[in-house]
Amino acid sequence: MKKVQFKSNYSQYFFLAPQLLILLIFLYWPIIQTFKDAFTMQDAFGFGSQFAGFDNFLFIFSDPSYFTAFKFTIIYSFVITFITGSIGLLLAVQANKVMHGKSAYKTLLIWPYAIAPAVVGVMANYFFSERYGLLHHLFNNLWGFNWYENVFDAYIYVIIAGSWKQISANFIFFLAGLQAIQKTVIEASIIDCKSNIRRFWTITFPLLMPTTFFLIIINITYAFFDTFGIIDTTTIGAPGSETKTLVYKAYIDGFKGLDLGSAGAQSIMMMIIVLVITIFQFRYIEGKIHYN
């Protein structure tokens, strides 16, 4: 809020109205519906429904495939965050150092960021197809790759497909973070510490902390939600439902299985997870990091 403001009785509502209206109809109405679904049990033919209390929640907690999806989502977001973060940081540090060709590197490394996850998934599909796939052949020669049956192989498939474009996002933000570090700090540190590698971990990396935490949140959100298009165009959750993310499972159960109660309860569980991550971000991270 500003100290100096306009005094008016109605204009502020004129400015707020369009967004609030859209949010109420297209966001709050469905959200309320989600809560209603989550606490309602529908009979198998969809004729009637009745209040079910926490039955839908108890049902998903007793469902082993929900835990499979939970486990996969956690592993998936952890691995994607780690892989894309470290490769993005490595490339950003190199790109920040080179004298020649900086902008060419930057442009070529940035553009996969713009490609839709679903498009990346369709591409990955070709590289992992038995008929044409180069990566399929490579891994098959190494250890007998078969992602429809082998959980580990399916993980490799969706992790490669999911990480590829996210490297660009990490690269962009790390590079911007590096460029924001003042030259004088770096020059002073060169005098104190001769070793490049030690200097990076003791001076540069701590200064990049705000960017790092920002990217961790971005990467986790990406792995939770944006990978829908990747899963749906690559493994479709196979083998079994080993590579279904929580979002993908909620969609399959709700839209394909028409089990609105279970899908609603799953959505609410996801909202709670996102809420926890957000609170963690604001309380813990924002408090601990010093912005320069």
């Binding site: 502020q12 859209i22 109809i25 490394l109 679903a118 490049n196 165009t233 969609y251 839209f255």
Partner: protein, 273 residues
């Protein structure tokens, strides 16, 4: 001497990075210029073939889809309408809402603030089925309004504009008030020109976001007339080289936008930090 060695290492690592990011696209592109027969017998290709014009023009103008009712060209048009609609609507509504929140005394301000920003916790993927039901009650299935409105219902842009307004010095409003500027002309004549970079960045971001939507168009369009590019990819039938060509074409618009406007985009996002 060590300087040369370390710079060589830098370039070496960057080149590996480039290979990882560029080679997959190149292979799909090179393969898309061969005939399907050739691909089927020889696999993916590293070198260009001579079917570029044939393949790409066939894909653009051929009727495809499950019922053969749509061309790729029409899908591009649909995607553009959808992405432009989403970007325009969210920029306008967010610009206004952020103005209302920052520059006015609002009754129940905290409540309205939370009403808007709690929506960041609930992406469309989490309310997909109820959203579909709401849209069918409103008769918006198979319309552009149905494709655009729920995706514009996002507080991300409001959040960016709010941060930006807060960084503008209070003296600006004080001076404007002394001149007798009213709230409407302060918004139009002062804030919007000041926010130009931000507006452009948010517009680009939302355009790419809208263009890349996959799940929502998949659910909202039962009629092929409203298919968009990104969702059409999975459902489009055709020979293998047609599909390669379509994949390549589908990524051109957002990639061009990001490459040409990367400076603006990055600048806009980092103005906030």
């Amino acid at each position: 001497m060590t300087k040369y060695i370390s710079s060589t290492i830098n370039h070496f690592i960057l080149s590996i990075g480039l290979l990882i990011m560029v080679v997959p696209i190149w292979i799909i592109f090179a393969s898309s210029t061969h005939s399907s027969l050739f691909i089927n017998t020889n696999g993916l290709q590293f070198f260009l073939g001579d079917n570029f014009i044939d393949n790409y023009s066939r894909v653009l103008f051929k009727q495809s889809g499950f019922f053969n009712e749509i061309t790729a060209l029409k899908m591009f048009l649909n995607s553009f309408v959808m992405a432009t609609g989403i970007a325009t609507l969210s920029v306008i509504t967010s610009l206004m809402a952020a103005y209302g929140l920052v520059y006015f005394k609002v009754k129940f301000a905290t409540f309205i603030f939370w009403l808007i920003f709690i929506t960041l916790l609930v992406p469309l993927e989490l309310r997909i089925m109820p959203s579909y039901i709401v849209m069918s009650k409103l008769n918006l299935v198979n319309t552009f309004a149905g494709l655009i409105l729920p995706i514009s219902a996002s507080a991300i842009a409001t959040f960016f504009f709010r941060q930006f307004y807060k960084s503008i010095p209070d003296e600006l409003l004080e001076a404007a008030k002394l001149d007798g500027t009213n709230s409407w002309s302060f918004f139009i004549d002062f804030l919007i020109p000041l926010s130009k970079t931000m507006i452009a960045a948010v517009f680009i971001f939302m355009f790419v976001f809208g263009y890349n939507q996959y799940l929502w168009p998949l659910i909202m369009t039962t009629s092929e007339q409203y298919w968009t590019v990104v969702m059409g990819l999975k459902t489009m039938y055709g020979s293998i080289s047609d599909r390669f060509a379509f994949v390549i074409m589908s990524m051109i618009p957002p990639v061009i936008i990001i490459i040409f406007l990367q400076k603006l985009f990055i600048q806009g996002i980092f103005q906030n930090k």
